[in-house]
Amino acid sequence: MAALQNAAARRDMTREERRYFLRRRLNSLLTHTVLIFFGISFMLPFVWMVSSSLKPNIDIFELPVRLLPKTLRLENYIDATNAIPFWQYLWNSTYYTIFATIGSVLSNTFIAYGFARVRWRGRNVLFIIVIATMMLPFQVRMIPLYILFARMGWLNSFLPLIVPNFFGNAFYIFLMRQFMMTLPRELDDAARIDGASEWGIFWRIAVPLSKPAILTVAIFEIIHTWHDFVGPLVYLRHPTKYTLSIGLRLYFTQYGAEWGLLMAAAAMFTIPMVIFFFVAQRSFIEGITLTGLKG
């Protein structure tokens, strides 16, 4: 396109062609203007979060509103970690995230293989049931599970949040199954001729080839558990077990006007996800694209 626009080419253009290119450039300008406008709007909340986190409280309540801090107060970050047991909550969030992710990756890979690559009677009926469970709202399960976990004495631990991950999740099963269906069946057949067992095919062929889907599930689960608010709210009942989600909200209910500290804590809660995103950016986008599956 750039080549077409050089001076030599332009001389040969007819009026219509010139108008056409002019319109394209105008369109492109317009597109960028709109995108930049919305892009800035989308980023402003972060700027505000970080900038407020650096403001002394006296500058927070100041008019007119300033986007950037007048004076920097880095101590907000230290104060925020002292006002709540921040490091303990951080560790709890990490702990929950790690085990929930391990559980999800193991169980869903395993289960999806059964739905995607093994042929057996009743498979499709069962799979429709898997999909149907997606429609059952969390709220229906919340109360009976609360009672179940309470009776098992689990409510003081992370078990109610972690253990269910080891038994599959409809959405992840669906996602991984769709992916595994696309793997060439010839590989299985060849392995079978070589005398590989079903387990061998799963472990040596399906798992290595499904890496992108496994990664996607891991990424989704990491985001989900790190963000999770309802689960910990309902099932974590001991203050020493709170995750950052719960801890931060409690902090807000107690110290509602300390916006500098609150924003510092919010920023520290967000940063691990941002780092994670930049490390795994490609898989992120691929993973989400994978969920908008066609046919």
Binding site: G153, F158, L159, R237, P239, T240, Y251, G256
Partner: protein, 459 residues
Amino acid sequence: MSEQEKVQGKQLSRRDMLKMLGGSAAGISLAKVAGLGGSAAALLRGMPAGAQSKVEIWTGFGQGRMADAMQGAIDNFAAENSEYAPEHIIVPWGEIHDRVIAATAAGSPPDAYRGWSWIVGDAAIGALTNLQPYVDAADVDLDDFWPATLGQMKYQGDVHAMSISTIVQFLYYNKDRMREIGLDPESPPTTIAELDEIGAALDEVDDDGTINRLGFAPTVPAKQTWDWGSAFGSQYWDEAEANIAVDEEAMIALLEWYKAYADRFGAENLQAYANTYGGNSFGRNTPQGIYYTGLVTMWVRGSWAYNDMGEYGPDVDFGVAPMPQRASADDATPGTSNGNMYFVPANCVNPDGGFAFANYMSSSPFVAINKALPDSVMPSRQSLATLPEVDQKEGGWTILARDEILPNTQPQPSFGGAGFFGGALNEGIDNVMFNDADPATVLADAVSRSRREVERLRG
């Protein structure tokens, strides 16, 4: 997470982990790794006789002078009672009740926790340990408590809570602001009409409705519904019927009063003003709070806010007075009284330790002087509330609270369902203020729903 569990976690190599977690046995293995089940915790706590037994205590005292005072009280308890090893866990006030209830349901509540009189209603759902046998065994002199507070400690005749202090409400007012507009700072309003009038003279509102400064508004920082209802002359409970009953005339007048403020300022402008400075926590713990900077001239809060003024607004010249009351109401009171209580949840591991701590907190002169007074609350026992240290307290707030306000107050509701009723009334006030709902309808609805709730809780 205990130290021991952390070490266990580290020792597992990644391969071990994967091996262990394979297949559906994973959940069970994980249960072992996490090892945090209630029964395990209970085992750890169930120490052999003779050793110290752990007493787990939850409070919301997490910051500043009150956290220090709490720690001091706990240390002193431990020093005086060598058989108990107290462990203090901080849960923000706004959540402490919900968390304890849930932990009680889960079978792992604390052994004692700090709450308020309305929580006594939890006895209706079996969430509290009946302390009457403990009180009898320890020979506690119940008549020493303020009668109103003792009433709140009891559920169906049995003691279910030990009160450490009794809160009454103050009208706080900024004398500097009153001087600025030429009012006598030594004669604060005593009736609702005066309060409205003086407040209106102090408001500073932009043409577009933005509130810059507020004389007074009954929703900033909180509605204080029980207190204003009492100041308007209503009761809340009918003993004979054993259910909710209000003085309709007084309550409708109350709702109309809130509505008048909504009409004057715009309900959302008031809400925005309160939100700006931290909503219900109203910037209590920051020098930028609205009361320390003169942004609000008059407000009603418990006596516990008194020492905040000294800590965060040392330069503000402020005064305290009893709550204004409706002149036309015979039964009007200067707000309600409310006990700060220690509760021992049902099914806790160490109820003996829990009661020992609760009883210590309510009876120790050390606590009264070093904990209640720094919190600016009146000890609940008359013998402690008449100590010379109380009489000598600067500012005269102790005398005002003890001799002028407390004897005239109505106890805040503490029946099963009181929390629900309070919520329903607040919802009704919102509905009147924001949606122009009819006060009589709103009141009838809140009362009928809450009566049903009282019956539901009764089972």
